[in-house]
């Protein structure tokens, strides 16, 4: 094993892993974080702590990860390359690993023009694949990006994202292979609404044997309303089929319908060979996670002591 985090141990022993997402607060409130951790703690194995998600300023992912860990839930530190150069990224990784935060998810990050500080300068010194490579070298070769030795290197369980739905479709599996080559240990996909298309992507993944080289987690997002679903179709990386939009539109209780659709998707995904876990992205709706986990037969979670 690479880092012996709970997340890694659970994958390693063949468990169907469940993770969720926690967006840090836009303030110094630790109470808000504790509240979310209390909701999620018994229902997920680890939780992604987002990094200024959608380029909106929030408490730093590193700081929030420390608080989450203190409250008894294992964090997955999300790192984007949008705001920090290689100097800052390596520095933050060493800091987080020193504090026992060893799960990292490497992302490029939503462009700052989409967020609440659109006039900010770009960084994008490196991209997400290069970040995966750089972290792998820090861990396995104990070197910084400039090849200098790291005396006490970080232990890391390295993740990356995959989007089976973005264009060009036929290139997405090649891109996944590239992330594996760079050193990804686990993958989380973007929210799946089109299970058929995801299935086809997984077929391609399996044909290349990639599912045996990396732990793939399928992402889902429960829809709260038709309006939200409609707006989501404009969000980078999200594709929602017409029939789901239609169901949300005509539903008497849109929230209930959203949950129903999500449970149906989870049920189908669980059966797909090569899927090693579920990543629930319940944006601003963390309290729905326990229900989703229970109703999908994924409760109770195995606790590693």
């Amino acid at each position: 094993m690479k880092a012996e985090t709970n997340l890694e141990k659970l994958f390693n022993q063949g468990e169907f892993v469940v993770t969720a997402e926690l967006g840090p607060p836009k303030s110094v409130s630790i109470k808000l974080i504790e509240k979310k951790v209390n909701i999620l703690r018994d229902y997920v194995d680890a939780v992604n702590i987002t990094d200024n998600q959608t380029a909106v300023v929030r408490m730093s992912s590193l700081a929030c990860s420390i608080i989450v860990k203190k409250n008894g839930l294992e964090p997955i530190l999300q790192m984007t390359t949008r705001d920090r150069n290689r100097i800052a990224l390596q520095s933050d990784i060493i800091g987080s690993a020193a504090l026992g935060i060893n799960n990292v998810l490497c992302l490029s990050g939503d462009h700052q023009t989409l967020g609440n500080h659109p006039g900010a300068m770009n960084v994008f010194d490196i991209d997400s694949i290069q970040l995966v490579s750089m972290l792998k070298n820090m861990r396995d070769k104990a070197i910084f990006q400039n090849n200098e030795t790291i005396r006490y290197p970080p232990k890391l369980f390295i993740g990356a994202a995959a989007n089976p739905f973005a264009d060009p479709f036929e290139y997405r599996v090649i891109r996944l292979a590239k992330k594996l080559k760079a050193g990804a240990d686990f993958i989380q996909t973007q929210a799946i609404f089109d299970v058929e298309r995801f299935s086809r992507w997984m077929e391609d993944v399996r044909r290349r044997g990639l599912h045996q080289q990396v732990y793939i987690m399928a992402g889902v997002t429960p829809l709260k309303s038709y309006k939200e679903a409609y707006n989501m179709t404009n969000v980078a990386g999200v594709t929602i089929p017409e029939e789901i939009l239609e169901r949300m539109k005509i539903a008497k209780d849109q929230k209930a319908e959203g949950v129903k659709i999500c449970l149906e998707i989870i049920k189908k995904i669980k059966k797909i060979e090569g899927v090693r876990g579920l990543h629930i992205m319940a944006v601003m709706w963390e309290d729905i996670v326990p229900l989703l986990v229970r109703e999908s037969g994924l409760y109770p979670r195995t606790k590693i002591i």
Binding site: T81, R82, R86, S108, G109, D110, H111, T113, L114, N122, F124, D125, I126, D127, S128, I129, Q130, S133, M134, Q145, A161, A162, N163, A166, D167, P168, Y171, I174, R175, A177, K178, K181, A182, Q190, A236, G237
Partner: protein
């Protein structure tokens, strides 16, 4: 070439509101081609300034000239007499032109009338697009002649990211995803295998990130 666009007239007027005699100088190269600061634009701006001044019952004398290139001292020298006779110079050149004139006449005020925007070309009549960011280390041989540093919003070297939709960038639905374009062109050329290689972390020090740049050609120095 360098693409620029003229500042709003009200911003230009703020710069010269105390001046009595100004030289309005156009440039005959890049900004003529992109219709921002050539002889024609000098004529137009001159009229707009005079109208604005008249509205406030003020007067201003404007000398209009256009030189071949404002970035070369020998052309700026041609209008030395006009320059030193004025209170201020309104340059319709790009940022390079403005600075060249300013460096040659340090006790005269030189103002920019253009917002120099990018290095690009006319995609079609009236539409200019950014193509090169002068990174100092060209990789166009690897990317089928499409620059990802300039044309990918995130300057990804192993793109595309997950934000591409219908071949367009997440930043703007009218901006093509550079990596999708690279993919398609490499496919046409039968060179898709180049995309399986991971492009390593780049040395950005050849770009503006490494500090102000200079090229010295000893073989050309006098």
């Amino acid at each position: 070439m360098i693409i620029a666009k003229r500042k709003p007239v009200k911003d230009i007027l703020k710069m010269i509101n105390k001046d009595k005699k100004i030289l309005l100088v156009g440039c005959g190269t890049c900004v003529t081609v992109c219709s921002a600061g050539g002889e024609k634009e000098v004529g137009i701006l001159s009229k707009l300034i005079k109208i604005a001044f008249r509205k406030e019952n003020k007067s201003i004398q404007i000398i209009e000239r256009t030189i071949k290139r404002q970035c070369e001292k020998e052309f700026v020298e041609e209008i030395r007499e006009e320059i030193i006779s004025c209170d201020a110079i309104l340059s319709m050149g790009c940022g390079i032109g403005v600075q060249t004139i300013a460096s040659m006449f340090e006790d005269i005020l030189v103002y920019p009338t253009l917002d120099t925007s990018f290095d690009g070309m006319p995609e079609e009549q009236g539409v200019w697009v950014e193509l090169c960011s002068c990174c100092g280390n060209c990789i166009l041989d690897k990317t089928a002649g499409i620059c990802p540093i300039t044309r990918c919003s995130k300057s990804l070297l192993n793109g595309p990211c997950g934000g591409v939709q219908n071949g367009m960038c997440e930043v703007d639905k009218d901006t093509p995803c550079a990596w999708q374009s690279i993919y398609e062109r490499l496919k046409k050329q039968g060179k898709l295998d180049t995309l399986t290689e991971i492009e390593p972390i780049r040395d950005w020090s050849t770009s503006r990130n490494g500090g102000v740049r200079k090229i010295v050609r000893e073989d050309l120095k006098l």
